[in-house]
């Protein structure tokens, strides 16, 4: 499976719909998936429950110091940054917002890039801000695989466009094409 060890996903405005389209198509993918979806701060999120009923894989709202398990989808809790530590466990933090966001996609992507290097896949989906672009570039710099949702398809193209402005990701894909591509990697 080309040695990939994790998939990190970032999405903002329009993201829940996009993820409900993409994630069920990735049920055959054995990698752990770490997700930052921007949501209102500090309001309990039902995202994990929503995905749990629709996906074959285990779905969990991430807890601090949780060791990464294969095939599991980890959703960042609202109001906390989600990062990966060198021992492949998850860490949460209440530090200040980055790009006006907590959780911040950049922080997840950058920490995962530091830990997984070229064995990481990062995908940035629809959103109305610029969080995630710098993190995705970091994944590319560390030799990881970078995917961006086609801005033409994204409900809010700003976030994919911000990444395209910053560097040239490996692939710009529609959600359907992204799912096919990821499944073919395995």
């Amino acid at each position: 499976m080309n040695g990939y060890r994790a998939l990190v996903l970032g999405a903002s405005a329009g993201g829940v719909e996009a993820l409900l389209h993409l994630l069920p198509r990735l049920d055959g993918l054995d990698l752990p998936i770490l997700l930052v979806q921007h949501l209102p701060q500090d309001v309990p999120s039902h995202l994990a429950e929503i995905f749990a009923t629709r996906l074959q894989r285990p779905v969990r709202e991430a807890e601090d110091k949780e060791p990464l398990q294969p095939s599991t989808l980890y959703v960042a809790p609202p109001g906390y940054h989600l990062c990966v530590e060198a021992d492949f466990s998850l860490s949460l933090s209440r530090e200040a917002a980055v790009n006006f966001s907590r959780p911040s996609i950049d922080l997840l992507f950058e920490s995962a890039a530091a830990v997984f290097g070229h064995q990481l896949i990062g995908a940035l989906l629809t959103g109305a801000n610029e969080d995630g672009a710098a993190g995705l570039r970091r994944i590319a710099e560390r030799g990881g695989l970078t995917l961006v949702q086609d801005p033409q398809e994204a409900v809010c193209p700003a976030m994919p466009q911000a990444a395209l402005k910053l560097f040239t990701p490996a692939h710009v894909l529609s959600l359907d094409a992204m799912a096919d591509f990821l499944l073919r990697l395995e």
């Binding site: 110091k65 949780e66 530091a114």
Partner: protein
């Protein structure tokens, strides 16, 4: 390999801080520590982490400045109101049976949680026989905690939290607007001892019935988390209570089977 170099520099910096100032950050979770140090490098204009190390070793004032980056002073009163509601409804009825109560707020930062607990204990008629030890490693935070003055613009949020936490009075009874802030009632303060204490290097100082340590150990690595939990286990009386942050868990620690969850949603545990 700039990544690798930065990691070496970071470890050397934390070692230097420990040897020179006795503050032990060596077992903090590295990902967020790295980020906070890099922010300090930028803001303090030292160029790289090694430059910061030199500054800090030769200038205690620079260390004091750096310390504000290394600790995360974010707190609010009655933060996560459900937690305080659970303490009020499920924990205090048990603690009421003790002749006196000792509560430890570990990692109290600027004191908001200690004052919140004091208000809670007062409303439940327990404050007069309670002592709250609120500890932190950051002297600036402790100094602000002792003053008990919080920005007025925060008070509406605190008031909303207080009401959601089941507050039985009027929140405005607990402070007066003064010194361009909200000055909290001195009689609450009489039951709180703010003190310097490190979960990384110090030991247990009292037997306690309730320990609240929320969103502190998320900045620790697993080894340091286990150390802190060891202190809590030792400090708590038989069947004492431990409250954690809402996304923290004992499941991945050495102490998973030495506490039982009493309120899984609010992360309140009881010593076995």
């Amino acid at each position: 390999m700039p990544q690798r170099t930065a990691e070496i520099e970071l470890r050397l910096l934390l070692e230097a801080i420990y040897q020179k100032y006795d503050y032990d950050f060596r077992e903090y979770a590295l990902t967020s520590m790295k980020r906070r140090v890099q922010l300090a490098v930028q803001q303090m204009g030292t160029g790289c982490i090694s430059g910061l190390q030199g500054r800090v070793l030769h200038d205690p004032a620079a260390f004091t400045e750096l310390l504000q980056y290394l600790t995360i002073p974010v707190s609010e009163m009655f933060r996560d109101p459900g937690y305080f509601l659970a303490l009020r409804q499920q924990v205090l009825p048990v603690l009421r049976t003790y002749p006196s109560l000792t509560v430890w707020v570990a990692g109290c930062s600027t004191g908001e949680e200690a004052y919140s607990l004091a208000i809670l204990l007062r409303e439940e008629g327990l404050l007069e026989r309670s002592m709250i030890y609120a500890t932190d490693i950051n002297p600036h935070s402790l100094e602000r905690a002792r003053r008990g003055i919080y920005p007025l613009e925060q008070v509406s949020g605190y008031t909303r939290n207080y009401q959601e936490a089941g507050g039985t009075g009027a929140f405005s009874d607990y402070y007066v607007a003064a010194y361009e802030g909200a000055l909290f009632d001195k009689s609450l303060r009489e039951h709180i001892t703010f003190a310097d204490h490190s979960l990384a290097t110090d030991s247990v100082f009292a037997e306690t019935q309730l320990i609240s340590c929320r969103n502190v150990m998320i900045y620790f690595n697993k080894g340091l988390q286990n150390r802190a939990l060891g202190l809590f286990h030792e400090s708590l009386c038989h069947r004492g209570f431990l409250g954690l942050g809402s996304k923290e868990t004992l499941n991945f620690s050495k102490f998973a089977d030495r506490f039982e969850p009493v309120l899984a949603d609010e992360k309140v545990y009881r010593k076995l």
